[in-house]
């Protein structure tokens, strides 16, 4: 029973990682590629990491192997926290820099951010 839960979590994680890479290949634009390549991989990474944490907790509490299980669970939880902290922040910075370096979204009719960044505001004042 326990293995089936682990296999389902691993399967969902790998499926979303593959989906993110496929979207990175297929989408037409930097911003849509960021959407696919960052959101889907973060979601898949959460599922795969949670499955490893569950394995560690099972070894810790049910098999009674305290040293191996606790180190596996706690270190993987720290790695999950690192992924959750760093990945959306990096994606935000990339989208901001792509917009500031002058790349327009494909098919966008109106760009509301256009006059709100500092560089463009300065140019408008002059």
């Amino acid at each position: 029973m326990f293995e089936i839960i682990i296999y389902i979590f691993l399967g969902v994680g790998v499926f979303f990682n593959l989906l993110g890479s496929l979207g990175l290949l297929r989408f037409p634009d930097v911003y849509t590629r960021l959407h696919a390549g960052t959101k889907c991989t973060t979601f898949g990474a959460i599922f795969i990491t949670v499955s490893v944490i569950l394995i560690g907790l099972k070894i810790w509490f049910f098999d009674g192997n305290l040293a191996n299980g606790s180190s596996l669970a706690i270190h993987t939880a720290v790695a999950l926290a690192a992924i959750l902290l760093t990945n959306p922040t990096g994606a935000h910075a990339l989208a901001r820099s792509a917009h500031k370096s002058g790349i327009k979204p494909v098919g966008a009719v109106i760009d509301e951010l256009d006059n709100k960044t500092e560089k463009n505001k300065k140019e408008d004042d002059e």
Binding site: V14, G37, T38, T41, G69, T76, A82, G90, A93
Partner: protein, 91 residues
């Protein structure tokens, strides 16, 4: 230490993650603009972190997971730095 999980499943997971790394690598090579390539590199970094965790589980060595933590923070710093560089202007 892991006797209730088939280790071949972990190998299959590693293979599929490698396939998705290859698909992101195509975008890194093909990408028309510089931010496209950086998006591909960011995706590759996340998948490499995940596959390091799975590899640490496969080899039953927690040291690979520690390496994954450090890799996560270093790749975050490099992504922020490249984004700041692409933005232009003064630092």
């Amino acid at each position: 230490m892991i006797d209730f999980i088939d280790l071949n499943v972990l190998l299959l997971v590693l293979g599929l993650l490698f396939l998705s790394i290859l698909m992101a690598l195509i975008r890194v090579i093909k990408g028309p603009t510089a931010p496209d390539r950086i998006v591909g590199l960011d995706t590759i970094n996340t998948i490499v972190i995940v596959s390091m965790i799975i590899f640490g589980l496969y080899k039953e060595a927690v040291i690979y997971i520690d390496v994954a933590i450090v890799y996560a923070f270093l790749s975050f710093i490099s992504t922020l730095f490249i984004a700041k560089y692409l933005e232009g202007g003064d630092f």
